[in-house]
């Protein structure tokens, strides 16, 4: 296989992986503080894609047409709306179940997921929606002679990588160096002890949900700008893949989410380029099952000891 095709697949894989990493943050942080899989997280991402479409529509209706303010305002609007969704979901569907069996939490999360899909389908219609291209154009790196011997990175793709890295770095700083971050880490280690030490764990959990939703919403904006179309069912597969990324990097770990995302993105993109693009979802699910069965603590984590 030619060099430029492999390189192109690697670039696409990195972009995909950065997106998985952003969404995986929501899974990994919620798992850290609540020990539950937030099954509805993929739906939050889907909501943010719709919010992007709506925000772009409203902004261009209001006469904002130059690219930079359009993008920034869209990101702000979408982050606010989706963050609110994250908070409300936790408040309505998970907080009343604090202390309930984990099975109940997961069933409630599946309920939220079904509800949100139906809600968006009913209010926005079942057909796929699209946006006008916001950032057309691409960088081209010519590798040598030949008609198609180049690697192409669209502006939207480079935006994805930049945004993902910046927001992950900012989040790591927040978690590592602010009092809120310290409270998050304390809650993750031992919620009961954190409560005894005067940390409002309910507020920490709410914050974690909002952070997860905000990261997913950034991914939603970027994906929508890059691909241009979305429908009400996109959340499920992306959600499962992002969860795979979170487990791959070791669930509960923030850098693990990004590393796992990048790894899964690269693997998936090489697989779909060289083996079969029809079976790329089968491949991702197989990776998920293999990791959960054989290395449930992730590629880099220590095996968990079952405590009695």
């Amino acid at each position: 296989m030619d060099m430029h095709i492999l390189l192109q697949q690697l670039v696409n894989g990195l972009v995909l992986g950065a997106l998985y990493g952003l969404i995986a943050v929501g899974y990994t942080m919620v798992y850290g503080v609540l020990g539950m899989i937030n099954f509805a997280h993929g739906e939050v991402y889907m909501i943010s894609a719709y919010a992007t479409g709506i925000a772009l529509g409203v902004l261009s209706f209001l006469g904002v047409h130059s690219v930079v303010p359009l993008l920034l305002l869209t990101v702000v609007c979408v982050v606010v709306v989706t963050g609110t969704y994250g908070w409300v979901i936790e408040r309505v569907a998970y907080r009343p179940l604090r202390g309930a069996p984990k099975l109940s939490l997961l069933i409630s999360a599946i309920g939220v997921s079904l509800f949100l899909q139906a809600y968006v389908q009913l209010s926005q219609g079942p057909n796929p929606q699209g946006i006008q291209p916001v950032l057309p154009g691409a960088f081209r790196l010519v590798l040598g002679a030949g008609e198609d011997n180049f690697v192409q990175v669209t502006y939207a793709q480079s935006l994805i990588v930049v945004f993902a890295l910046v927001s992950m770095a900012f989040l790591s700083w927040v978690i590592g160096h602010t009092s809120m971050g310290r409270a998050c880490r304390a809650t993750q280690q031992d919620p009961r002890m954190a409560t005894l030490l005067g940390i409002n764990t309910d507020r920490v959990i709410s914050t974690v949900f909002v952070i997860g939703a905000v990261m997913a919403s950034i991914a939603g904006v970027l994906v929508t700008i890059n691909y241009g179309s979305f429908d009400f069912s996109i959340g499920f597969v992306v959600g499962v893949k992002a969860f795979t990324a979170a487990v791959l990097g070791g669930i509960g770990s923030l850098p693990g989410a990004l590393v796992g995302g990048l790894l899964l993105g690269l693997l998936e993109s090489v697989f779909s380029g060289y083996v079969s693009s029809d079976y790329k979802d089968v491949f991702a699910f197989t990776v998920l099952i293999m990791v959960l069965v054989f290395r449930p603590s992730g590629l880099f984590g220590k095996p968990a000891v079952e405590k009695v």
Partner: protein, 418 residues
């Protein structure tokens, strides 16, 4: 009520209204239309007002003396020991079975109703099967639909490639599904809790994706056709495709397309009755008791010498078997199968039936299956809101009645979270 209390109340309600506007405003108020949108301000306003009024009512009811007393009573009730199964319950079952037997004959002309009831019974079967895995053994299986798909595709593809008929498939598909269940169980049972749920979800999706993408063998998204049932080799079609006499000629009646469905209904009813009997008995046998014990506390069971792998495996395979049988009925009923019938949503629907009926309760599962499949059929206007209501019900049930509307009548204590 003091003034400060009233003011915090007002602030709380205003915040609720504002939040509801942020949540509902863009999503329901601005409908995307091409690259533009249609503004519709009534929808979010109405929704936000409803939410705010709901919160007001909630706060008033909970804050009042009456609400406090009700809560206290409810909590006292939850601590009561559930009663053991009585005779009354079994009488109920017999009565229900009798009504179900004569119902479609009373509506013989109404093939629409017969079909709806067949579908409901298929969901009863699926609910009973998943009930063994989730309700009794406590293994949250989100890929249950895979076994349903295996049963359905076994009839369709077996007919296409090896000329297998309805009855052969009905006997062989549970064996095949159980074997597949056993095979999948080995990796699945290495995991616990949420991870187990996600692994089963992964398997379910993989099977669906293979059915969609392996076009040469399965027919891909176009699906494959499945044969109808036969009565001692007599077909229910107008003209017998494979020789012999069609059923309606043998009994000397004019051709009636509804006859196939009536026959299918009778067979299905017998199978469901048998299944109810088997599950009811299994629960009282050592195996069933081991399932429930393992659900409550795995470590205690293992230290008491229960082979947890064998017990979980038996639950998983029993569930898979039932799913396989349901699949054969579904394929024969529809006359056609394709992968869209076996999405994750279907698994979630079966789970919703279980949750509404009460995890572990047979009567509850039967009633919930009928309610959740027949109500959307009978109230067509409601059909669009079906999934919305299912999702909402799953959340509300988990919060208020985690044991379901008709909770299992056995000394069952809530599933314990670790």
């Amino acid at each position: 009520m003091t003034r400060t209390r009233i003011s915090t109340f007002t602030v709380d309600l205003a915040a609720t209204f504002a939040l509801a506007m942020v949540v509902f405003g863009p999503m329901t108020g601005l409908q995307l239309n091409g690259f533009s949108f249609i503004a519709n301000w009534q929808r979010p306003l109405v929704l936000a007002v409803v939410v705010t009024l709901g919160r007001l009512a909630f706060k008033l009811a909970w804050g009042s003396e009456w609400g406090q007393r009700w809560m206290a009573r409810k909590q006292g009730k939850a601590l009561d020991t559930p009663k053991a199964i009585g005779r009354r319950n079994q009488l109920w079952m017999v009565a229900l079975g009798f009504v179900l037997t004569i119902a479609p004959f009373a509506f013989e002309a109404n093939s629409y109703l017969t079909k709806a009831v067949i579908l409901a019974l298929i969901y009863v079967l699926l609910g009973l099967g998943l009930n063994i895995v989730v309700g009794l053994a406590g293994l949250l299986d989100l890929g249950y639909v895979a076994f349903y798909a295996v049963g359905a595709y076994f009839l369709a593809l077996g007919y296409q490639y090896w000329g297998i008929g309805f009855w052969t498939a009905l006997v062989l598909s549970p064996i095949l599904a159980a074997a597949l269940g056993g095979l999948l169980a080995f990796p699945v049972l290495r995991t616990h809790g949420d991870y187990l749920a996600i692994v089963t979800l992964g398997f379910g999706e993989i099977i669906r994706l293979i059915l969609t993408n392996w076009v040469d063998f399965t027919g891909g998204p176009n699906g494959a056709s499945a044969p109808g049932p036969t009565f001692f080799g007599m077909e229910f079609s107008r003209i017998a495709k494979y020789g012999g006499t069609p059923f309606h000629e043998a009994i000397g009646q004019p051709y009636n397309p509804n006859m196939k469905f009536l026959f299918l209904y009778v067979v299905l009813l017998v199978v469901v009755g048998l299944m109810v009997f088997v599950v009811d008995r299994l629960r009282k046998m050592p195996m069933g008791r081991a399932w429930e014990a393992l659900r409550e506390d795995e470590i205690a069971c293992r230290s008491l010498g229960i082979n947890h792998i064998a017990v979980k495996l038996s639950a998983f395979m029993m569930g898979a078997m039932t799913g396989g049988i349901a699949g054969v009925f579904f394929a024969s009923y529809q006359g056609f199968v394709n992968p869209t019938s076996f999405t994750f949503f279907e698994s979630a629907l079966i789970l919703a039936i279980l949750v509404l009926g009460g995890l572990g309760s047979i009567t509850g599962v039967i009633i919930a299956a009928f309610v959740l499949t027949l109500v959307p059929e009978l109230l067509r206007d409601f059909a669009d809101y079906r999934i919305l209501v299912f999702g909402l019900l799953m959340i509300l049930m988990m919060i208020w009645r985690p044991r379901g509307l008709i909770s299992a009548k056995r000394p069952i204590i809530e599933l314990s979270g670790s």
